[in-house]
Symmetry: none
DNA sequence: AATGAATGAGTATTCATTCAT
DNA sequence: TATGAATGAATACTCATTCAT
């Protein structure tokens, strides 16, 4: 039996490839693709520049690895988001569950990490069109589909009335965080909404969309 | 870098300065800020590089002039947008007028020009935070306020029921084009929605927001 | 009337482009194409690296300019080579004239300058196939054709018996300097043949080819 | 850098060393010395880069091994070339035997392999002067001497009249393939002469040199 | 003897900006 | 005000060679 101290050993021998992705993710998110030199990535990963090129071939491929790596966490998160809906049994539990879901959703999308990734990918969309499309499909798209599925299941069990779950999910999304998201894209330094503001957004959006 | 936009001397027709702004606008929108060299701007404006620097000081100020120049047309457009609401006299005219307004609004926001500007400004928001904020205030913000004012006037005349015009305008906006706008940011080459799709978006958004 | 001190002024204001070609020619001939960095070329021309790129676009184009520039002098030289044949009037003048021509020819081809150019172009023939072919056509090819023409004119005037002037010129050439040329390509540092050796080569070649 | 060529240990079959030389020969001939990286050599030999360095010390020594390895086959070939002359008994057999010899000689020298080696060695002559000289001595030089010896033996037996066998061999060589060889150096992609052309070259060269 | 990574200098090329004419 | 060149730092990427495992 191995206790497997992987977590503990990561300080010592983090595999080069992972270290590069981590460093590049941080730097790309902080300064953008173009403004981040390969020298600095290598230095931040405590790795030689040559190793970067051995592992990724060129800077573009490294960028793709970074962006797709980020989507992996987004995908995992999406499923967790709607798990709360599964436990709903009675009509009066629906409201609180939806409020929790909406709150988490807005918090995540308007959190600094997701905003930074969106800015990064949008900024490079012209130079990486396929990557941008793939990101959109995998991250916000997947979450939207997951929420729509959750609504459809609730509707199937008669706990909620939703004609078009995809559209309702989309309406909910953009009523929730559309304005804030748009604002945030243009205000990279401004802090996101606080908890009270999110609560207020949640109540309003659910009401408008007919789920409140 | 100066963000003062249109200065007082512009009444004297200065072809050089205008030509530079026009050429730079085109190139920045097409290829982005970083990928557009000053050489090419000067060449496209049929002007010497020195003239570019005499007129604008540096590339950043030229960028600011370009972005703020674009907002001028956006501001002019905003007022025109809600003019149709002013002519409304009877309750049964409200629906068609709102539909026309929403259609124009969505068409403009989802048109290639506005999308290109948004991508450009978002891409450079980290390097030009004040400019990005200013753009957001002047272009989408101004339009939103204008629409809110229009709704408020209608409500004041009893033609429509709107509690919070600002919020209603915002909800309408993001129900209308939130999803499409988000999609477009990540798909720089994809064509925008066609007329039928916009009609459908308009009907849906107005209904959800209680104005349809 | 202008005395035109072009020659005297060349120290002061040699046009950038010419200076670059001169420096690049010298360096390419001395160290080869790949081993000569653009930095050094710019430094040797007392010119900024940017000027090199403004003038020639890239290193390959500069190389082409160098090689073709060299052929210009080769072409001019070819005509001068056979001028001596034009003055021949009597049968007994033919021998000395041909000997002079052959001597000059061998001296030129086996001189350090021509050898260096040949090595340079051959070394890069794989990377610049069209340029190498063009060089061969313009420099040794042109000289060969000029000599053949000279022989044909002599034959036309009955001063010499030559059936196939092209072939005779070619035979003469490679009997004259074929072996030495081959040797020199593989001995970049060895001195060329001295005058006596060239005289001997000339006598032998003319005899074998039937013109001695 | 060592220029000692085949060392004593080669009787023990060392697949690694041989594989490296073979791969390097192929790559150097195809792309030149500078354009061939050690990574690719190691990969093509299915060997680690470290093994390359263990076996050869550095890239220059590997290059020397490659070039001298090639000369080994050239030397073996030279003797075979003149074997046909040994069988000549009568005066009327001399002509056909010389024609066969000349044909084989020209075919070999103008074949793609020999041309590629010549280009390679000439291209690097400035950086490897001793190696280039050694190659010239061992490959074309040895063949020339062998042919001269063959002519001398024929002359000694009264089958042919040759005053200076070395010079006659040299004249024959450059009348045969001097022009084609020169052309080929500058036309790396052009195909060599076909059989008929070689026959024609042989007849002409033997006639001019007085052996036809 | 092999592997993956490190090293560190080097490559061509581009950029925004400024100077002299 | 226009032109051509200068500046000087920065870019991504490659190379031969060596070290540790």
């Amino acid at each position: 039996m191995r206790i497997d101290g992987a977590a503990g050993d990561e300080r010592r021998v983090e595999p080069a490839r992972a270290a590069i992705v981590r460093a590049a993710t941080e730097l790309f998110l902080a300064h953008g693709f173009q403004a981040t030199g390969t020298d600095r990535i290598a230095a931040a990963a405590a790795v030689s520049k040559q190793t970067v090129y051995n592992q990724f071939g060129d800077k573009r491929s490294l960028f793709a690895a970074v962006v797709l790596g980020v989507t992996a966490t987004a995908e995992a998160y999406g499923a967790e988001l709607t798990a709360t809906l599964g436990a709903v049994e009675r009509r009066e539990d629906v409201g609180p569950a939806l409020r929790r879901l909406a709150h988490r959703w807005a918090s995540a999308v308007l959190g600094p990490n997701v905003l930074a990734v969106r800015r990064l990918v949008v900024a490079e969309a012209a130079r990486f069109p396929e990557l941008a499309a793939e990101y959109h499909r995998r991250a916000p798209g997947a979450t939207l589909r997951t929420v729509a599925d959750g609504l459809a299941r609730l509707a199937g069990r008669g706990l909620v009335e939703v004609d078009d779950p995809e559209r309702t999910a989309s309406d909910l999304a953009f009523l929730l965080f559309g304005a804030e998201l748009d604002r945030a894209l243009f205000h990279p330094d401004a802090p996101g909404p606080d908890e009270r503001r999110i609560d207020e957004l949640v109540d309003h959006a659910l009401r408008v969309v007919g789920l409140g």
